[in-house]
Symmetry: C3
Subunit: 306 residues, 3 copies
């Protein structure tokens, strides 16, 4: 399987076989993540974040450093040259001279794909618009695999904002390559985008619901997301929805003993702090898995594995 110099734009660009290979590679990165290595010594990652996302940027930089490489970049809302009117294609053709690989976060859908078309070095989509966040989906898959030993056969619930959350879009696509039953739990206003739903439904069993009532007991993986106030015109509606999608220890009374709760973070209050201490909580482990997964991707793309 050839990953060298490949772009990571959409989870849809990968076959199950390829994803399984990426997951296996991530596992081999665990010992390096705990210490450090020199397999990307002398290589440079540029993190171009046109939209703030401190944690994703730090995750990529930490991954690169753990592989012995260096990182440069910017985290400003707009790069100085962009403020002067430069287009993305020019920015990419400039920055590719500074680096061996680019991680791009951009508010516009399609930005990462456009960048990849112009760049002569590999582009990793670190989140583009509300569309996709493939490295988050891969680290989520990796977390599920680590916790459950296999992904096939699981009941997985994606909960909260399924409309604007790029994370759940990429994750739903990724899960559709596995033999899972997908529960999509969201208020009507925040239902899964039609185009994602159609693609996923064509491949696996999907159940849509407006609440967690009555289904929690059969779920293996509960994937929570943040519901943003700004999505609601009616604050009364927001308050109602917000309350209905909150997980606390009370809600967890009747769940599987090995239920795994995940969240891409940051959370506001959709998971009560008291849940952190339960064996279900895996959202901070996801952060660690994110480093490991990004190390795997960087190593694969630079042709530096095995």
């Amino acid at each position: 399987m050839e990953f060298k110099r490949r772009d990571i734009i959409s989870i849809k660009d990968f076959t199950r076989k390829e994803i399984d290979y990426i997951l296996e590679t991530a596992e081999t990165m665990e010992p390096l993540a705990k210490t450090s290595s020199n397999i990307l010594h002398g290589k440079m990652l540029a993190t171009l974040f046109f939209e703030p996302s401190t944690r994703t940027r730090l995750s990529f930089e930490a991954a690169m450093h753990k592989l012995g490489g260096s990182a440069i970049g910017f985290a400003e809302p707009g790069m100085a040259s962009v403020k002067k009117g430069e287009n993305l294609a020019d920015t990419i053709r400039v920055v590719e001279n500074y680096a061996d690989i680019i991680a791009l976060r951009h508010p516009l859908e399609g930005a990462a794909r456009l960048a990849a078309e112009f760049a002569q070095i590999p582009i990793i989509n670190a989140g583009s618009g509300a569309e996709e966040h493939p490295t988050q989906a891969l680290l989520d898959l990796y977390t599920i695999l680590k916790e459950k030993d296999q992904i096939d056969g699981l009941n997985i619930a994606l909960t909260g904002d399924l409309r604007y959350g790029r994370t759940v879009h990429s994750l739903a696509y990724a899960l559709s390559l596995y033999d899972v039953k997908l529960h999509l739990i969201s208020p009507e206003l925040l239902q899964m985008r039609r185009e994602v739903l159609d693609t996923v439904k064509a491949k696996i069993q999907v159940v849509e619901k407006k609440g967690l009532d009555g289904i929690l007991s059969e779920i293996d993986v509960l994937y929570m997301t943040r519901i943003q106030k700004e999505r609601f015109a009616d604050m009364a509606e927001y308050a109602k929805v917000k309350g209905a999608y909150k997980i606390d220890c009370n809600v967890l009374n009747n769940v599987k003993k090995d239920l795994v709760i995940m969240h891409p973070l940051p959370r506001i209050d959709e998971i009560a702090n008291e849940v952190d201490a339960t064996p279900h909580a895996r959202y901070f482990q996801q952060v660690w898995n994110g480093i490991v997964m990004r190390m795997a991707l960087l190593a694969l793309i630079m042709g530096a594995t095995g």
Copy 2:
């Protein structure tokens, strides 16, 4: 003495014996600071600055690099995830996955202590509210020691804003472990905080005064601080105070030959530029000592000395 994996939150957490050991360790770092070393190769420092402080951030990063380690972090007034409503405990539990040690600057008192309670990796308080700035106090002690060979027996004056300046709070606590006579020189409005004063007075001789007149000739170390306009409701009062706390060559006519003048910087005009060229000025040397001290602390906490 065990420093490995220890947090550096408050100078009050350390005994004199421990501080003396830190000062000795700093001395051993001087040759490494002039060149570089690899004793923290593969280790990562995260600098989380929720409040801007370019010089303290750069000092920590430079110290980490000189030890062969790497640094990531942010210097934004608010990390993206925090703007989205994330609390500090969550931010810390995320970032601890990226790094081996965290240097935290935060506008709220108690923030560093809270962070240390949640973190599984060591936290260094890089300034919290108006409360404490322990690494500055340690570098100040180190500066005094380097200049005077010993701290015991000295007449030391802390001058200017003793109320809101976290630096002088930590330094006063630290000096109270030594046999010094402490002169606290400030306008009434900016007198040393009661809780600091009580603690220090219980241990060493303290003299409070409103001006430098008549005492400068007996002082060994004159520690100046910036008086901020914002502290005054009455601008006439500010103008008067500001003038009274200004050091120029004229003021230095009748001082000890080996008087040492220190300042945590930045200064505005409380020390005239003409003083820079006198043998008394040590405020730029303090900056260098800051790197050396932070190297010592990073090495001690990571268990990488001797």
Copy 3:
């Protein structure tokens, strides 16, 4: 020739012999730029950008990393301590403790020169006011040399904003050391500054024109710059000027086969995208040459060549 510990403030500080030596050194950096090296291992560059310029900052940082060194710095419009009222001389005397070399970008003319007077470590002017941008001029010369094998004998046109563009000021000074014919093409409002013009005219043949008509066919190197709307009080005048200084494939019908088109970037629309695919376009190669040139300068100043 001694470059060790030398400041790079103005292109006027260098003789032709010295510039030729810098250009030769850059050539030797090409293989290192493609891989990496350790010749500045343990050395630290501080990038102090008081004015945003992401690409110049990243170029310096990438150059330093490729030489095995580290970089710290800030890219905020104002360093925290400067907001508190610190002057540049103090900032420099603080930062010189953190680093072995400083790259300074500042909105005020003369800032780099002032910094160099106070600093005990070398200062590189990374752009000061509208005055000078010496490293850009050097990378431009290097680009011309690489493309044309020699600079002497060429017809070179500087086009666009010759009044406020620091890049063309430094480049004009640099070119005046070579036997070139310089064509200065600009609208009346944006004509080359008198002091630059006088100096350059005293040394080489200079032709001033208001448009490219009729001269393009004899030009070897066409150096384009951005014309900023803000320079014009009259928008109709701006629209007219903007149209007259736009290069597209149609304009290129009657040019030399080996015409080289350069631009310091970012461009807005003064060079049409269709030109990118022509053999004339060299503006993205300039970016690469910028890394190579800055590697050469860093290595020379640190005494780490040959």
